[in-house]
Structure formats: structure tokens, C-alpha cells
Symmetry: C2
Amino acid sequence: MTTDPHTGAQSDTGIEPSDEATVDAIAGAASAASVTLAGRDREWRASFLSSLASSLENHGDRLVAIAQSETGLTPARLMGELKRSCFQLNLFAEAVRDGGFLEATIDHATETSLGLQPDVRRLLMPLGPVAVFGSSNFPFAFSVPGGDTASALAAGNPVVVKAHSAHLLTSRAAFEALQEGARQCQAPDGTLGIVFGQPAGTALVSHPAIAAVGFTGSLGAAQHLRAAIDRRARPIPFYGELQSVNPLIISAAALAERSNQIAAGLAASITASGGQLCTKPGIAFLPSGAAADLFADLLAASVSEADPGVLLNERVLAGFQVAESELEAASGVRSIAGRPGSKDGGGFRVNARVLRVRAADLTADHTIEAFGPLVLLVDYDGDEQLVAALSHVPDSLTTTLHIETQDEAWAAALLPKISESCGRVIFNGFPTGVRVSWAQHHGGPWPSTNTLHTSVGVTAMRRFLRPFAWQNTPEPLLPAELRDDYRGIPRRIDGELVLATL
Amino acid sequence: MTTDPHTGAQSDTGIEPSDEATVDAIAGAASAASVTLAGRDREWRASFLSSLASSLENHGDRLVAIAQSETGLTPARLMGELKRSCFQLNLFAEAVRDGGFLEATIDHATETSLGLQPDVRRLLMPLGPVAVFGSSNFPFAFSVPGGDTASALAAGNPVVVKAHSAHLLTSRAAFEALQEGARQCQAPDGTLGIVFGQPAGTALVSHPAIAAVGFTGSLGAAQHLRAAIDRRARPIPFYGELQSVNPLIISAAALAERSNQIAAGLAASITASGGQLCTKPGIAFLPSGAAADLFADLLAASVSEADPGVLLNERVLAGFQVAESELEAASGVRSIAGRPGSKDGGGFRVNARVLRVRAADLTADHTIEAFGPLVLLVDYDGDEQLVAALSHVPDSLTTTLHIETQDEAWAAALLPKISESCGRVIFNGFPTGVRVSWAQHHGGPWPSTNTLHTSVGVTAMRRFLRPFAWQNTPEPLLPAELRDDYRGIPRRIDGELVLATL
């Protein structure tokens, strides 16, 4: 079944859940593809990634139309997301050509204070078939053709995706587009696979051929998978991006200087995509006083004017409504924009909400994640109260600071605590709209993720690689990148980093 | 209690098990030290590591004497191991000065096909206090002053060691030597801590201040710790180096060419340190025939002439004897050197053993780890039988190949399977004596380790670091290494790797 979130109307997809034999065949094909892929060079792999991007782009309009009817996201947002998926694949192609991700290292045999030491060479190798569980809220960029898939393929692994139940048709169409791109490069059968249905997902992570799992979704779903993974004879890494409240802090000077601009930006950040972004700022701290009241009015007005949020599916709607009512019932909370309950217009529409509370009243009850268009404003009196209030916020993917130049010492004092409790700090901007680049880190301490790695950006590849060392190995038996005369990638030779000479 | 493995005599150490309040105080001090350490620069950290090495060296003779009476290892081996610990600390100091481990990355704000992108900069940061569980078989290099401690400190973290029950006095003395070196650098209190007793170890990994665990030891002990870690509210990484059989494969040509030399090397590799090395080759494959019989005789003679192995403690002795009798009882196994039971001379002395079986008879019963001086020779008839027999060997830290130049194509065909089932391949040498260097990888697939990381070599630091990203951050608030004008370390800037200019 698929549901149109605009109307709530259901229709049959004709997609059958994958049974255990199907999962076994797909995982087996992925395992066989591993071996073939290991024999392809980096140039092939880069072209392959770009070919996937081209194919997605070619099918863009059709994919966006399918996704729109399944997710309720706007065509503009979906086309942006599809372009992001393509950009991501091409960036990984660039990283594969660069070769730095291999961490090629050569220590020639040498005499040391511990005696004669052998020749040792190290490279990162593909891990093996990767299972990818996409998110509901990003049908492209964190799903079938998303960051986990792109980074696992870039690292040289086959990928088996478990289609998200909220966008089965989109998943299948995106998968077919990727398959077309893969075939154009003569990628081995089994390089890409897809399975449908929750039992198939559990069977997939339990399958001996699967070497790692990438996951973006709820803590509850992650715990279900974790339990299945823990039952395996052979443990595998499980990389989960789970939940995040994303605190935002405004200094007195920033509030005085840029109240309008910050309010407009925050309104856009919490209402975009129905507020269903893992980096949506869910809680904003501002110094109490007349300026805060004015800011709250501006924000409430902006949010009320925003297009109604259409939530992705019934489960997200129910989850949002529970969080919304719990937050509204928490001690000292006032509503300053929106009202609970579904918005007129049918389907899964909800009102965007702004709630407000004083920092002195803040407890863990106020800092639950509401996945949807809602922000809690927190009025603080002085730094001590701010720091105490922040301690109630669960560790997050991001923290955002709005400051003026004169606040730099103030911000510097906050930074150690902030950097301990998130994975990215943003100054004078908004955490939504995660740049896909070399330096990006999209990850954070528990419960925002369960890993020390990123799921966005070039270094996401590291999750799906493992080091291997060759000792005293005859030159012809070494990977090309570890032979003495190779010059195509950066390498560390006898302790010294040496750039590629092309 | 401490026991002299030469005689089995016990004596009181006067060391009390650490109670829960002590563990809490030590973990709390480590947490406080984290903050201070984060404020020290890399130059300080490098000097600190070298100061620890100097202090260990200064106390070398005393440390070796204590360790000898507790472990039964020879003074030469122990002094070598202590030097290795010092070498390791100094290598990490070099890596800290180099700064490449920080993976500093700068993406300036720029216009892309996805619109204007913000400035994002990334660096690896210390993770927080690390708990280290050292091994019984390396009282220095994999214990209090070992690789886990050195790499965690090099990454900028405090370390709390749980002393191994088999060498409490050595642990305490080594800890005191490190403390002396730490004080000479004004390292903050809490940078180094030590706890005693198994309950203290469990309390340590359960403590909220602990951010990661490094472990070298048995699968059983690892499972006990894993259970405690799984009960934490906040999961933390657990890096375990567990067990390994380390297959060694000899080609027909190598056997014809270098029978004597390989037999002598193998005998040394399995008897050194009483065979109690995680990389000891426990199973050796050789082509059946007259040359194999001659090789077996040579090996049996060498092994019988070797000094008696003194095992580390009663538990290791019992474990060895169980494995020895299980292997001897496995179908088709013949004994060709040594006899079961304790060797004359008292204490935990055992006979070195060589067992032999035909590949056709090999099952999983033949491939258990015997931690001590024992090797199982396996006679294979042809490649197909070799490959089938190898599939019964659990994945290991290492695989060793003895080949001649004409065997390179043969070895190339074996390599994909070998590289899948271990972490390091060694040609024409022996896996024991793990080089400490930039390229080393000491790790392998389950059950040899539970991680994708190494516990030996410079990249062991990566286990105790986490990435962090700064977006649109004012220059004064960035770490020095991420400022535009910094030039002291290699960095990736806008996708291009740039070397340090000193």
C-alpha cells in the first residue's frame, strides 16, 4: 500500500514483500559482486558513480512526480533533493579519483632501535555488501540513491537497500534508475539490490553476507535492527543516524542587532519540508526581556504565515501529535503560534507551532524531539541559567549560535561544552541544509547517532572500509596503489606524506 | 596475590581491589583532566608522550625484574618489550607533531550547482577518558604503558587502566613510572589512572565518564565486558583484540628450496615467549610428500630443543592443556613433538608441541586456538584441498605465505580469500614480532577482533577520536589548525590535499 499524505488516500502498489529466499538470493548476488567489484580499478568506480548520477538526472521529473504523491514534499524540494543525490554521487566519484581515502601507507624495511623491521604497507579495502535503510523524510538523498548508498558504493562495496515503507514506489523507481546507470557501466549483477517489507529488512541484517548496515531513522526502528544484529554469529558495524533536537542559542547582542532576520530564518528552518529534517532546530534559547518578546511575536507571525506542513505519513503524524501534546503539557509552556490537531485541507497537514517556556522551568520533559514543524523558545536570564538549561538538551547532531563580534569571548567559553554535545556547530545560520562536501560532519554523540562517523560528506566512505596490511610482499602481488613506482594518489611513505604527481 | 610462574609460589601484593567509590573518583578525575588536556597544544602533547617514554626507560631494569617474577617471561624479551613501549610512545609523539591524524579539512563558502554553500571545517577531536584493559602476555607493550594507552593519550584523552590480575605489581610499577613522566610535564591530575580487580573493571566500563574501551584479551573476558557496556544508558565504542589462529601456508617450491630455514623460523615463532603471542602461527599448511615429512622432522627436532615454555599463569596453563588435549583427540591427529602435561622444573612449564594431520581430515575441531607453544601441521594434496582446509580456519589477525618467485600467480589466486579472512598478510617471514609503524595494521575480522581498527601502529589513534565540524565560524573561535593562515600540518582545502610548510 502507498498513501498520499495530501489526502490520506491509499492505493495498492503491487509491490510484494520480499520473502526470505529472495533476500538470500539478493544477498548472495551482492556477495558475488563484491569479488568482481574488487577487481575493477578506481577509474571504473568513479565513472560508475557518475553514471548513476546521470541516470537519476535523466529520470528526474518522473521520480519527483512519484515521490510527491507518496511523501507530500513539494516538487521544488524534491527536485533539490534529487540534485543533491546526483551532486553527492559525483563528489564521491571525485574522491575515488583522488584516492586519498585509501590512506595508502608504505613503511620500507629499515633498521630501528628495535632491530631490523620488515616492509609493511597499508591500504583501506572494501568491507563487503552493505545493507542500507533509508529514511522517510528524504526519499532520495537519504534513501535508495542517498548518502549511505553512494558512500558504500564509492568505497567499493555492493549495496542492498531496504525500501522505506512510506515511499515504496519512489524507492522502486529510484532503484530502477540506478540499475540503468549500473548496467551502462557493466557493473556486475548484484552490485545493487533492493528488498521490501520489514521482515525482509530483519532477514537482510541477519544475513551472513552482509558486512555493515547504514541506517537513518528512529531510535525505535534502530533498536529493532540492533537486536537482530546482536543475534548474528559474526558481529557487523551498524551505523545509525537516529534523532536530534538541535539547540539554537541567540546572544543578547544578536537579538538586538538581527531580530527580524533571525526570526525569519528560524521560521523557514522549522517549517521547511514540514519541519521533518533531522537538523531542524527544535529548541531556541534567547535572553529574556522586551527584545525576546518582540522576537517571539515576529517568529509566531512568520510561522503562522508559512504553508501548512504536510507530514510524511500517518506514523509521523501520530508521533508529532504525541510530542506536541507532551510539550504543551510540560510545566510552564505557553503556546504562541499554531494550535494542535490536523490542519484543514485533509491528509496529514498540521499547524506549525511555536511554544515558549522560561529556562528556569526547563526539564528533560521539554527537550523531547518533535519531528515536525515545532520549536520551543526558551527565555534565559544570564549565562548560568543558559548553561543549566542546555544540560537538559539531549546530545544532538548540531548546535547553532547567533552572536555578534563582541560576543566571541562569550561564545568561546560556551564552545567546549557545545563541542562535547554535538557534531557540528553553526554560527549565524541555521543547521538545516547540510552541505555535502569534504569537510562535512553529520553525526553526533548518542542519542543523535550510534557512531563516531559521519553519514554526509566524503569521509562517510570510511564506515565501509577496513584496513589491510601487506608485509614483505612481492611487488606484483601488491595493489597498484602500494607499489613503489605508483604516483597517482597521496601516500604516506616512511612517515612522510607525499602528494600525487599526475 | 601474585604468582611466580617459574615455581607456582604465591605471595601477597598488598594491592587492594579498587572499590566503586575509588573507580568513581578516578573516572571523575579523568573527566576533569579531559578539559585541561583539550587546552594543551600538540607540541605539549608530543613532549608529554616522550616524557613518559623517558621515565619508563629510566625505570627499565626495575620494571623488568618485577615483570620477570610475575610473568615467567625472560629478561631479554621483557627488556625488548619495554623498549617497544618506549619506541611506541615516541612514534606517537612524532605523529602528534605531524598532525595528519587530525584530518584537518577546510571547505570555503562557495557557489555550487546546489546554490551557495557555507564554510565548513572539520577536525578530529579527542573522545574523552579511555578505559584500557591490558593483556596477560604483554605486561608492557599491551598493558599499562602499551599501545592502547599510548594511542589514547596521543589522541588527547586521559586513560584509566585496569591492571591485569596476572601482573599486578608490574602494572603498578609501570603506572608509577608513567605518573612520574606525566608530572614532569605538568600533566593535569587524572590524565592517568589505574584500578585493580575485576569488579573495578566492570564498574569502569559502566561509568558515565568513560568514552571508549580498549581491550586485549580472551573472547570470554571480552563478552563479560561487552555485557556491561551494553547495559550503559549511553553506548560507547569497545575495541577488542580477541584471539587468532594465524594460518601459515608453504608452497611446494618454498618447501623444496628453504625447508631448513622455514622449519627453524617456525620453531622460533611458536616457542618464543612460550608461544603466548596473539600472532603465533597455530596452524601450518604444507604440500604432502617426502619433503613434508622431512620438514616435520626438522621442526619437531627444533621445537624439542627449544627452552621449556613457562606459561604466564594458572589460567593460561589450564586453557593450553584443554586445547592441547582437544586437538590431540581430534580425528586423524598425530603427535610428532613433545608430550602433554607439565614439563619438569615446576611452575607453569609445558612442553612445546607439534601435531600433524592430513588436510582431508581437517574440521573446525582442528582449528581452535591453543594459546601456548603448539602448532598443527596440515598436509595438503593440491590447491583445492588447501582452499577447502583453509575454510575451516577462523578468521585471524594474520596469514603467512612462504613462496618462491615462480609461485606468484599461485599466491595471487589465493590472495582475495586470504585478504578477506585476516588483517595482515606476511610473505616469507613469520607473523610474530609486529612492527610498530605508520603502515601497521594489527586487527582482523571477527573473531580475531571486534573492530575495523588497528591496535598497533599510528592509526590506532583513530579509535579514540571523533570528527567535529565548524560552520561559518569566526576565525578566532576556530582551533588553530583550522584557521586559514595556519600552515603547520597537512590539510585538505577545498578538496585538495596541501602539505605542511614549516
